[in-house]
């Protein structure tokens, strides 16, 4: 039988490869609908949610930074050796002998630190625009989990250079674990893989940093994005005063949203590159277990916690207070609110004012309390027979709690805020306290971790703001 030469022409092998991408004729016809973009974004979205001042693009920035980290981290994996004898040398090899090695490390370092900042700002944006109510409640929890993972990733990566900064920062932070009642010492040995920080610790941190945490992040991130889409996109601002609209105007995702994302992403990458070219990731001398540097500081995002340790008994500083803060964050969406204002920054005019008042109060009171406690209060010396948990823990905690309660009482009388506004004001109060404590730890603690001015800290530690990263 002769070949059917007169039959319609059949596509060649290469054509068939190319065509297989579009799968079916129907999909080819709607190729735009089938594209990957529409798994993440709806075809159209409320026009008002496009406004930059609503979201500042912080969630997307987090994703871009994550991608940068995955990319640069993969490159680092080709050079780095996770063993105490060679880890530090491999970092030097990377910086001195590998083409663009230092740049890749700097990109990883700056992306990692920026990610902590961006993730925190994103959390604040969602909170202050009321994007955590109703359908978004559970996504708030996923977001908190992601934030925890980002911190864990950053913290485990901190040890890997195995220099003096990383070694002693991890010593201090894992030292804090010991103060957890009952579980503490066991948990500490578990995290360190032994009594001391050694080869096992490095291997544990390396595996967490390069396998466990990335996998968890990659699993939780799409879940987080998907829930946003299921909630109908990001939280939308209400229509302007006096405008009654049946359906808010919508805009197409392509190109309106995608172009904006592209611009924001490219600008962010440019920023990271500029930082990476201009500022090197720090690297001190090789880790020396026999010599603690002075001062020895935790990674900057844990310096607020370390600062608490100077003012409260460890049980309060590393267990009770952090647990209370975490519990508060988790419960935020599940409190009973009389009104729910979503999509408006700071709820209302009263909300704006009360938040500002809370910020100013915390800004004024925290440094005062820090200096007062450092210079004057000596509860354990004044009350020698009393257990330290009471004299250094409960005793300073009571006035702190009373101050918060008093502030709340005064706020209620002065402004008559709604429940929503009150919760926001207290949130701002605690947030600013934490930020001030962190800043104190970073810039106002010098030799022996004594209080000092930033310009008195000495040149050696002048640039250790983001010390010891990847």
């Amino acid at each position: 039988m002769p070949k059917a030469e007169h039959a319609p022409q059949r596509p060649g092998l290469i054509r068939r490869f190319i065509d297989s991408y579009g799968q079916s004729d129907r999909e080819k016809k709607h190729s735009r609908r089938g594209s990957l973009v529409f798994h993440l974004h709806p075809p159209t979205l409320p026009e008002r949610t496009l406004r930059l001042t609503l979201t500042w693009g912080l969630g997307g920035m987090g994703l871009v930074l994550f991608l940068l980290l995955a990319l640069s981290g993969t490159l680092l994996l080709f050079v780095y050796e996770p063993f105490p004898g060679s880890a530090y040398i491999s970092i030097h090899t990377l910086q001195d002998d590998v083409l663009f090695g230092r740049l890749v490390r700097n990109i990883h370092h700056w992306s990692a630190n920026l990610l902590v900042v961006v993730a925190l700002l994103h959390l604040l944006r969602v909170f202050f625009t009321g994007g955590f109510h109703d359908r978004r409640r559970f996504n708030w929890l996923i977001g908190l989990g992601l934030f925890g993972l980002v911190l864990a990733a950053n913290f485990t990566g901190y040890l890997l250079p195995w220099d003096q900064l990383s070694y002693w920062a991890i010593t201090i932070c894992t030292g804090m674990i010991e103060y957890v009642p009952w579980l503490g010492p066991g948990l500490q040995t578990w995290v360190r893989g032994g009594a001391e920080i050694g080869p096992r610790t490095l291997l544990i941190f390396f595996t967490m940093h390069t396998a466990l945490i990335p996998v968890l992040l990659v699993t939780a991130m799409p879940f987080h994005f998907w829930r946003v889409r299921k909630a109908g996109g990001v939280v939308a601002p209400p229509p302007p005063e006096g405008v009654a609209e049946e359906r808010p105007p919508r805009a197409p995702s392509v190109p309106d949203l995608v172009l904006r994302e592209l611009v924001a992403g490219l600008a962010l990458i440019a920023l990271v590159l500029v930082l990476a070219v201009a500022f090197n990731a720090p690297l001190a001398g090789e880790a020396n277990p026999g010599m603690s540097p002075d001062p020895a500081k935790a990674p900057w995002y844990f310096l607020g916690l370390q600062e608490l340790l100077f003012h409260f008994h460890p049980f309060f500083a590393v267990v009770l207070i952090p647990l209370a803060l975490i519990a508060g964050l988790v419960l935020l969406p599940y409190l009973r609110y009389d009104t729910i204002t979503a999509g408006t920054w700071f709820i209302s005019e009263t909300g704006r004012r009360t938040a500002l008042v809370a910020a100013i109060a915390a800004l004024a009171a925290t440094p005062l309390a820090v200096v007062l406690d450092e210079k004057l209060l000596r509860f354990s010396v004044w009350l020698p027979g009393v257990p330290a948990v009471l004299s250094e823990g409960l005793l300073p905690a009571v006035p702190a709690l009373l101050a918060v309660a008093g502030f709340r009482f005064w706020l209620n009388r002065r402004y008559q805020p709604t429940r929503e506004e009150l919760v926001q004001a207290l949130f701002v109060l605690l947030l600013v306290v934490l930020v001030v404590l962190t800043i104190t730890g970073i810039w106002f603690r010098g030799s022996g971790m004594a209080l000092c001015w930033p310009w008195e800290r000495g040149a050696v530690h002048g640039l250790t703001i983001f010390a010891g990263g990847p």
């Binding site: 002693w168 578990w190 360190r192 893989g193 026999g290 340790l309 330290a388 022996g448 971790m449």
Partner: protein, 176 residues
């Protein structure tokens, strides 16, 4: 009565009714087995990750370290042992103490200041006296000690497990 109503409901909309009887029992069984499997998996993972004690080499940290003959250490002296990560203290009265170099606050390495006769932690400025007692907080308790044994007038220090103590007193001192 309730069962009968359930049955009728099931006929009406089969998916909505809660399973009962054999079906319910089997479902409970599956869930139970699932929980048991999950607990097993977690327990195995924890056991797998549980830290083990590295076998100390001869005369290395974690084992028994020979510090030297008694007479080599003058009364009122402090000798650091890098290998064993401790300070051997000989008090004025001739007694010995092996002090861990780890600060009890957050685990930094304390330095001996001979001129002030003090151990000082560079991390958070805790200060200890020559016997390891706390002079200045934030350290919550005295420096840990290691057990000392004296054989043939030679000092041996067992660095396997540091001894925690709440106060520093004379009973902890080993005499010749």
């Amino acid at each position: 009565m309730a069962d009968a109503r359930k049955k009728m409901n099931r006929d009406a909309e089969p998916a909505a009714a809660a399973p009962s009887g054999r079906r319910g029992f089997l479902r409970t069984l599956w869930i139970g087995l699932g929980v048991v499997a999950a607990v097993e998996a977690v327990a195995l993972a924890v056991a797998f990750l549980r830290p083990w004690k590295p076998k100390p080499g001869a005369d290395a940290f974690g084992g028994v370290i020979t510090a030297g003959p008694v007479d080599r250490f003058e009364p009122g002296s402090v000798t650091p042992f890098r290998r064993g990560q401790f300070y051997l203290v000989r008090l004025e009265d001739g007694g010995f103490l092996a002090l861990s170099r780890k600060c009890t606050h957050l685990g930094c390495t304390v330095n001996w200041r001979a001129d002030e006769q003090q151990f000082v932690c560079p991390c958070h400025a805790s200060v200890f006296d020559a016997t390891g007692g706390v002079l200045t907080a934030p350290a919550p308790r005295p420096l840990d000690t290691y057990e000392i044994s004296i054989e043939n007038r030679t000092i041996m220090v067992d660095t396997a497990t540091p001894v925690r103590r709440d106060t520093s007193d004379n009973a902890q001192v080993t005499r010749v």
